[in-house]
Symmetry: C2
Subunit: 341 residues, 2 copies
DNA sequence: AAAGCTAATCTAAACGTTTCGATTTAGTCA
DNA sequence: TGACTAAATCGAAACGTTTAGATTAGCTTT
């Protein structure tokens, strides 16, 4: 900017005023400045600017895994929303690891992001502290933090799973295997209670042996499904609490020489673009990713636009059961036949 | 930092020295500084630091679409690599739009990123200019820019498609539909020549009517496949030049009441995690995403570490044909039977 | 014609670091 | 003891902007 000012024979203040349009600059000087900018190929240094004005127009976004299609989609929507609003987004993947997450958040805060969107992983003092008394607005995505009430948008996980399990029950399934992630994140807890209560309202007992816990990865889904399907009294249906794990589960089914839905019905949480193209067409619980992303963005943008006083908001969206053909109806006796097999 | 200095009764220079370990600081002062930092909850302002030292430890990454599984995977790998190296990454999606891309690159440059990784879309003066005389190192990913020789890592698209088409020919297919994106990006051109030459070496004529061009989106794949499959003399196989378009193509096959591979064989460029789980298990060309991501990152990191003199490097990786069961062998006469049907 | 406005431009301080060179302190050696 | 050296600490300038307030010039108004 100094060079531009010199070339245009004006002060840097005038150049700044011209660029930002803060004051009217005469025709003559405008022309000279414009020309100098072009000649020099000047670009405003956003770092210096940020230092002075105290805002970076950048937000931080952390997700566990970008390859999980749910997060891929949400990240995409959020990215677009902030792009439109003139913000850049720094993306961090925490890899389902708590210390990674702490590190990433620290990094983002150091870089003076104006706001933070966190799809947290695990629980930890640092996160709570950050969310509690960070001087930047943060909105929690998908996963809440106990006892912390910042802005957040989440799914009604309980209801969604309740509906899905009820659907399986109506088809006649009685032994429904359940593959979950660890209960240190809210969605896994809420999904589990949905399962629990659906069984309960159908008058079925909760069978511990039908529930397997993994670490949300494909490999865990594989192991879990292998175990479930090797049970003497094999489940006739399997529910997977996320998408990567269902891929593992499907591979287990394949490797055991079984097929879906003939031998075992399958439902999973989170829809994906291929679901209705290949066979079996998987019945899934679709999260409204577009809405989730947009609401998350707009919650944060609202704070960034100065609305800091409003009490914290909790948005709860509904999932939708996408019934396809990965679940088959069971005759009254079929269940018993299958379990004897 | 000023506050810390005051609280610890030292100068800011000493605090800085302590934090960065640039000079030895006495036990006593170290203790006081450490305590002051903790009490105040001080965090170093990376913006101010960047302004002073002239580096942001941030890189910019632009891709057309993050929801395309190829880019999802590559972004994920790149993200990890830079994370390890202590860099943050700013992610931008250009949405296959040239002016978007210009805008995004401008934005990243304004923000003083230390380097740029660009999976470009379209062609344009601004990009060429940027790549040519940006004062930051840039590496091109997946798609090259004609006449610009910066560092880049690309696939041997020609060979990969040649192999895939040859495979179809060996199965007895003679009429192979080809769904491509616009030819303004190198991979689409190179893939096309692979198709072309495979036909040529089999002594087959190139049939214009079997090639449909779209805009890389699912919807385009749908339209293209619809047209191809409605031809009087319908192709017995379809090749899709990217992943999103094959999803559209599969939907078209489904909607026409046809099935794969019985009625039409399908191969697509880019593998995806579900490929071998559902039916038909799609035969694909898998790009070595891990290697691509890592090489791209290491090329850029090398420049960032000061190796600015080395001549530009062009890394070419090989794709791999993942043969599954979406292509069926054709008897000598089957082709004719199918075309008559 | 003097005083008062307005519009345009400028000067200089500030944002929070890093870093160079200066200063202080303590220790060593002749 | 005095000069010299090394170690520790500090003062102040610099990075490239923004912005408040000062200054100047050109008009109106009386």
């Amino acid at each position: 900017m100094l060079h531009v000012a010199e070339a245009a024979r004006v002060s840097v203040a005038t150049v700044s005023a011209y660029i930002n349009g803060t004051t009217t600059v005469s025709q003559e000087l405008s022309g000279r400045i414009e020309q100098a900018i072009r000649e020099i190929g000047y670009k405003r240094n956003a770092i210096a600017r940020s230092l002075k004005i105290g805002t970076t127009r950048t937000i931080g976004l952390t997700v566990p895994h970008i390859t999980n299609p749910f997060f891929t989609d949400v990240v995409s929507v959020i990215q677009q929303a902030f792009d439109r609003a003139g913000y850049a987004v720094m993306l961090c993947c925490t890899d389902e690891d708590l210390s990674n997450q702490d590190e990433q958040i620290r990094l983002l805060l150091d870089r003076m992001v104006d706001g933070l969107i966190i799809a947290r992983v695990g629980d930890g003092a640092y996160l709570r502290e950050t969310v509690d008394r960070a001087n930047v607005p943060v909105v929690l995505l998908d996963r809440e933090v106990d006892g912390v009430d910042s802005d957040r948008v989440v799914l009604d996980n309980h209801q969604a799973v309740f509906e899905a399990i009820t659907y399986l029950l109506e088809l006649g399934h009685r032994r429904i295997g359940y593959i979950t992630g660890a209960f240190n994140i809210t969605p896994m807890r809420d999904r589990m209670t949905g399962y629990h209560e659906a069984l309960l309202s159908a008058g079925l007992a909760y069978d511990q042996s039908l529930v397997r816990s993994g670490d949300l990865h494909e490999a865990d889904g594989y192991t879990a499904a292998m175990q479930l399907l090797s049970l003497h009294d094999r489940p006739t249906a399997i529910f997977s609490a996320n998408n990567p794990m269902v891929v593992g589960a499907m591979k287990a089914i394949r490797d055991l020489g079984l097929s879906c839905p003939e031998d075992v019905s399958v439902i999973c949480f989170d829809d994906f673009p291929w679901a209705d193209v290949f066979n079996p067409q998987l019945t899934t619980i679709a999260q409204p990713v577009q809405a989730i992303g947009e609401q998350t963005a707009s919650l944060l943008l609202d704070r960034l636009n100065g609305n800091l006083e409003a009490p914290s908001r909790r948005l709860v969206l509904k999932g939708r059961l996408m019934v396809r053909n990965s679940c088959r109806p069971l005759q009254a006796g079929a269940n018993i036949a299958a379990s004897v097999a």
